[in-house]
Symmetry: C2
Subunit: 143 residues, 2 copies
Amino acid sequence: MSDILHRIGIDAKPENVFAPLTTIEGLRGWWVSNTNGNAAHGGLINFGFCDMQVIAAEPDQLVHWRCTRGPEEWVNTDVIFQLEWKQDQTIVLFRHANWKEPVEFMHHCSTKWATVLIGLRRGLEGGAFTAFPDDTKISGSWR
Amino acid sequence: MSDILHRIGIDAKPENVFAPLTTIEGLRGWWVSNTNGNAAHGGLINFGFCDMQVIAAEPDQLVHWRCTRGPEEWVNTDVIFQLEWKQDQTIVLFRHANWKEPVEFMHHCSTKWATVLIGLRRGLEGGAFTAFPDDTKISGSWR
């Protein structure tokens, strides 16, 4: 199994980072603009290209999703956000865990998650939120 | 062992991507502005905070460095760039491989490498090169 790892520090309190991870309106801002469903504990989030079951949502500390539909390499992988208030910032430790193989698509997704998390940081710090389809591009095409 | 993975596609020919990976002037543009040493096959590159031995430099295809000095988590890790011309872009498959443990610093470095590679892409596509200390910030501090 292989994991994508990331870390950002956001100049915002943990509750202000937790909210956009656990509300549909929030997710529409920083990840996918046509998100639907229920982003609370136990809910199912429809991001269009994939569905995520909300396995855990511990206020201001942890959000854990499991992919139940999407690109085949994503199905049954876990997306985990750990939040910690440290040195006047909220540290987000991110893992997209349990890929079966470190395929080329995993390389792409790793870079892409970085751009998405940096967009979350920028938006929460007063800049623009840039959810798909206004996201940062990292290649002409990925396949 | 754990690996950081990334993938970007650059609108430039492989030889134009290979050059900034294997010349001191090039490295000063996209990664660390006070880089010194010898970035050709067999050379030792001094990036200030770390040294990289150039294990392989196969024109337009592969660059492989091994860290011989630097943050303790980096020593003896490998940094590998594979280049491939595909769909009118140079695909860079990147690995910072063989971390002993997926420590918090590895999460930070993964996000940071994404910003650095995106900066390489931007610079080669006509935008600004943004080597350290003008690099994209991803947190207030990392420790």
